[in-house]
């Protein structure tokens, strides 16, 4: 049987997401002209981590 692709997807995006989230909270960068999403590292990192976690859950449920 083949490797479930959702597992590596989940691992990669969880790791990168958590890194970005942590870095965003720690450094608070503001891109030019940015509004409420001024800390884009943090919330986009959160979004990636959420996607990664979802993939991990889906991969686990199959087995």
């Amino acid at each position: 049987m083949n490797l479930d692709i959702r597992l590596p997807l989940g691992v990669l995006f969880s790791v990168i997401g958590v890194l970005l989230l942590g870095y965003g909270i720690a450094s608070r960068h503001t891109p030019p002209g940015a509004p409420w999403w001024s800390n884009i590292d943090a919330w986009w990192g959160g979004a990636l981590a959420a996607f990664g976690t979802l993939m991990l859950i889906l991969a686990r449920r199959r087995h």
Partner: protein, 571 residues
């Protein structure tokens, strides 16, 4: 040279994690490769949605991303025709009508289908030109990547291309097509997650959709066109003088929508290989259909940044973004994506965006290399150089061809760096060879009477017609030579795009007509030899137990309805 973007530790870390991850996936998948079918066709075991995303991603090289963003800046919303008129209908046609014969014939490659359906010489012609073309396009893309990494990060040209080529080589050597496909799926998500914030930040800066339209109206008026020429897709296609692309509806629909797009999506083994790796015929048919959904949304990810960049350069927005100029003073549209990344992304996100860009280079290169090793081994080495060897030998040859393909691509990249003109000429020659191909497949799959001689001489006639047409026409403002007019100048086109579309139309028509005439003059193929290869000689496949909402026909109807709606909304 001085780098345009300075990366911080977090950016390097994200890039490093991605490189390690890609190699790790190759290592994990290595244990699953036992036969040449595992290596070349993933053992035909890939689920439909994975095959679908890989199908899309193999085509999503960085040249596509950078080129589409550049076209968005240059031509505006009309660039969406490459997706909404070009790609989607062709992908639907491939899934519904052609995939049953590619997959069902058990051919391992597109050239092998040509041998089964026609004859050896047609297969040989196609296999050789395909191999040369994949190496060439992979080399040109590598050259573009080397230049870009040099410009952005100050990396040495050689360091950039050898590093990326080395990583691609290792993961394909280890895991074959499965490794390439899995990485393509990861690359797909990286590209989406890496570029989506760019669109959001840029669109916000330019003042939302209405701000973008106002900015693009200024761009259009400054270039002497009507106000909506950059923001509407169909409204300005009444005549070639009304739009920056210099095309009109018939040339666009026939040249791009029919000949070029169907020719690419329905016959290019690079993408079709992904669908052929699916675990069943039904999955192979669904793969391109599943790919249509993200594909039809891609204009918002890749074309929109170009439109935003050109509107901002014209003075819209508040963050003072402007595209850099080329030495001749005109804006450098190829730098839309890299300069937007550098402008908007803070450290951290910049690492992600850059990783997405490098990932897209890698997925494009891996697509070329895996298609090359398969066609080389199955369609050139096995029949002509070493017939009758064992499966283990061909598996070994596949790995050797992977190394060879990567090395040849690197050589092509250096050739492109040294002699730009040679590469332009070679690309042109392959465009001539490719232009008529779809006529051959269309007649092959749907007309029993078409025979081997018809197919072969039809292809030759189409290629010659394409070359003649190119040699006798010239786009406006172009110099005689690689742009055309090298025989005589009989006609001027308003743009290079218009010339390309008409070259394709003429090549297709010549191939179609000559194939029919030569086939009718010769003997028909033996009726029993066409089962599984021609529609009318093959029993209809029953999708059977699948519920209606999982049937390819339903997915196809959805895709067509959605793409019609998109065309109407952005008319």
């Amino acid at each position: 040279m001085e780098a345009a973007i300075h990366l911080r530790a977090i950016d390097w870390l994200i890039l490093g994690i991605y490189f390690l991850f890609v190699l790790g996936m190759g290592v994990v998948l290595r244990r699953r490769i036992h036969s040449s079918e595992d290596f070349f066709l993933s053992g035909r075991s890939i689920p439909a949605w994975v095959a679908g995303l890989a199908f899309l991603s193999a085509n999503l090289g960085a040249q596509e991303l950078i080129g589409m963003a550049a076209s968005g800046a240059k031509y505006g919303m009309a660039t969406s025709h490459f997706y909404w008129v070009g790609a989607i209908p062709a992908m639907v046609f491939l899934a519904l009508f052609m995939m049953p014969f590619y997959y069902g014939s058990r051919a391992r490659s597109v050239p092998e289908y040509l041998r089964l359906r026609f004859d050896e010489k047609t297969r040989g012609f196609n296999a050789l030109s395909f191999c040369a073309m994949t190496v060439l396009s992979s080399g040109i893309s590598m050259y573009a990547m080397g230049l870009l990494l040099n410009l952005l990060l100050g990396w040495d040209f050689s360091l950039g291309i050898w590093l990326c080529a080395g990583i691609v080589l290792v993961y394909i050597l280890l895991g074959g097509l499965t490794s390439a496909i899995y990485n393509e799926v990861v690359q797909f998500f990286l590209i989406v997650f890496g570029f989506a914030p760019l669109v959001m930040l840029g669109l916000h800066d330019v003042g939302g959709w209405s701000g973008l339209r106002a900015g693009l109206a200024r761009v259009a008026l400054a270039h002497g066109f009507g106000a909506g020429a950059w923001s509407e897709s169909w409204a300005y296609l009444g005549s070639t003088a009304l739009n920056p692309m210099g095309v009109e509806r018939f040339g666009l629909v026939m040249g791009l929508g029919f000949v070029l797009s169907f020719g690419y999506w329905c016959t290019d083994f690079l993408t079709i290989q992904r669908a052929m790796a699916a675990d069943s015929l039904s999955a192979a048919r669904r793969a391109p259909l599943i790919a249509t959904l993200p594909k039809m949304l891609f204009p918002f990810l890749v074309i929109l940044p170009g439109m935003i960049a050109v509107a901002l350069t014209q003075g819209a927005g508040s963050s003072a973004f402007a595209l850099p100029n080329k030495p001749d003073g005109s804006p450098n549209f190829d730098l839309v994506i890299p300069t937007l990344l550098g402008h908007y992304f803070p450290a951290g996100l910049l690492g992600l965006g850059l990783t997405a860009l490098i990932a897209s280079f890698m997925s494009g290169m891996a697509g070329n290399v895996t298609a090359f090793n398969t066609v080389w081994t199955n369609d050139i080495y096995q029949p002509y150089l070493r017939p009758g060897a064992g499966d283990r030998h061909y598996l070994w040859m596949g790995r050797v061809a992977t190394v060879g393909g990567v090395l040849l691509s690197l050589a092509a990249a250096y050739l492109a760096a040294a002699f730009n003109n040679i590469m332009d000429v070679l690309q042109l020659v392959f465009a001539f060879i490719n232009a008529p191909l779809f006529a051959t497949f269309l007649l092959g799959m749907f007309w029993q009477r078409a025979n081997g001689n018809g197919a072969f001489y039809g292809l030759l006639a189409g290629t010659v017609a394409a070359a003649l047409h190119h040699g006798m026409t010239l786009p406006a403002h172009a110099v005689v030579g690689v742009k055309g007019g090298w025989l005589a100048i009989e006609h001027h086109y308003p743009s290079e795009m218009a010339q390309n579309f008409w070259t394709a139309i003429i090549a297709w028509t010549s191939c179609f007509v000559v194939t029919i005439i030569v086939s009718l003059a010769g003997r028909p193929p033996a009726p029993g030899s066409l089962v599984g290869l021609v529609r009318s000689a093959t029993p209809r496949i029953d999708a059977g137990a699948k519920p209606w909402w999982q049937r390819p026909e339903f997915l196809a109807a959805l895709a067509i309805a959605a793409v019609v709606a998109l065309n109407i909304v952005f008319f």
